[in-house]
């Protein structure tokens, strides 16, 4: 496959377009890599350390200077700070409030409340709040901002 790289001026302009006859495993892998889903990071639970794949994460929350990672299997803690994970994971991991990062790929739908806050229902039926101040960044990450 031919690969073209075009230099752009800002992060906002960064995008990858893949033209393919069919979606092969290699292409899926490349997509995962570009979207940040293939990245892993260390988490711990009950004294054991695991490497968690980003694609398994639903959301990440910071409580009392501790960072908790929520997956379908449960909750883990990590030594990473929220802002570090925001940079590390990138892609569809977006800050939705001062203390939370949500994986947009795990969001089933959103519904605005009259107060302006946005309730995001995840695919496991949990509801997380997207503050109105972060809605612009959410839309930008989804390519509609």
């Amino acid at each position: 496959m031919r690969v073209h790289i075009e230099k752009v001026d800002s992060k906002d302009q960064e995008e990858a377009v893949i033209k393919a006859v069919e979606i092969t495993d290699e292409i899926s892998g490349a997509v995962e890599l570009l979207e940040g889903d293939a990245k892993g990071f260390a988490v711990s639970k009950d004294g054991k350390t695991y490497i968690l794949k980003a694609s398994n994460v639903y959301y990440i929350e910071s409580v009392d200077k501790k960072t908790f990672v929520y997956t379908r299997q449960g909750c883990y803690d990590t030594k990473y700070r929220l802002y570090e994970l925001e940079v590390l994971l990138g892609g569809y991991f977006v800050r939705c409030s001062k203390s939370m990062i949500v994986n947009l790929r795990k969001v089933r739908n959103v519904k605005s409340q009259i107060s302006g806050r946005i309730d995001a229902t995840l695919i496991n039926d949990e509801v997380v709040v997207i503050s109105r101040g972060y809605a612009k960044e959410v839309k930008r990450r989804l390519g509609i901002g």
Binding site: L104, Q113, V138
Partner: protein, 146 residues
């Protein structure tokens, strides 16, 4: 810093809304009641009073949005309190700076206020709904399945 930004934004929006209200009032008086528009004048202190009213009303708006993690009913009560307090500020400013000098113009200001207030909320809710639809449509294309 965000609160300061919100305060400036709200001051601009509310002041603009009051000027729109003045424009509507002027149109009603000239088109429907036959007043002479050339006799209309806006002193510097009128303009200043409108901006000042906007600045004070925006403080009420900041208070409205301080805690949004509350039940819908409680927030509705907060909106009613906000509406009445902003109305009171407008009436006091209107009385002090002589925005209205007779009962008919006071009634006109009141009607315009509630119309503009309702309009602002209607537009806000419409924008929220439109944003929700856009986001949900985009989410459909990227969502992981359980």
């Amino acid at each position: 810093m965000n609160k300061l930004k919100l305060w400036f934004e709200q001051t601009a929006i509310i002041s603009f809304s009051i000027f729109v209200g003045i424009l509507i009032e002027g149109l009603v008086y000239s088109v429907f009641l036959g007043d002479d528009l050339s006799a209309f004048s806006l002193s510097w202190f009128h303009i200043l009073s409108v901006i000042l009213a906007g600045a004070i009303c925006s403080v009420m708006t900041i208070l409205l949005f301080i805690d949004t993690n509350i039940l819908k009913n409680k927030f509705t009560v907060k909106i009613i309190i906000h509406c009445l307090s902003v109305y009171l500020i407008i009436v006091l400013f209107g009385w002090f700076f002589k925005w209205f000098t007779k009962l008919s113009s006071f009634i006109m200001v009141s009607v315009i206020f509630f119309l503009v207030y309702a309009f602002v909320w209607t537009v806000s809710l419409w924008i929220y709904k439109r944003d929700d639809n856009k986001i949900n449509k985009a989410l459909n294309g990227i969502r992981d399945e359980e």
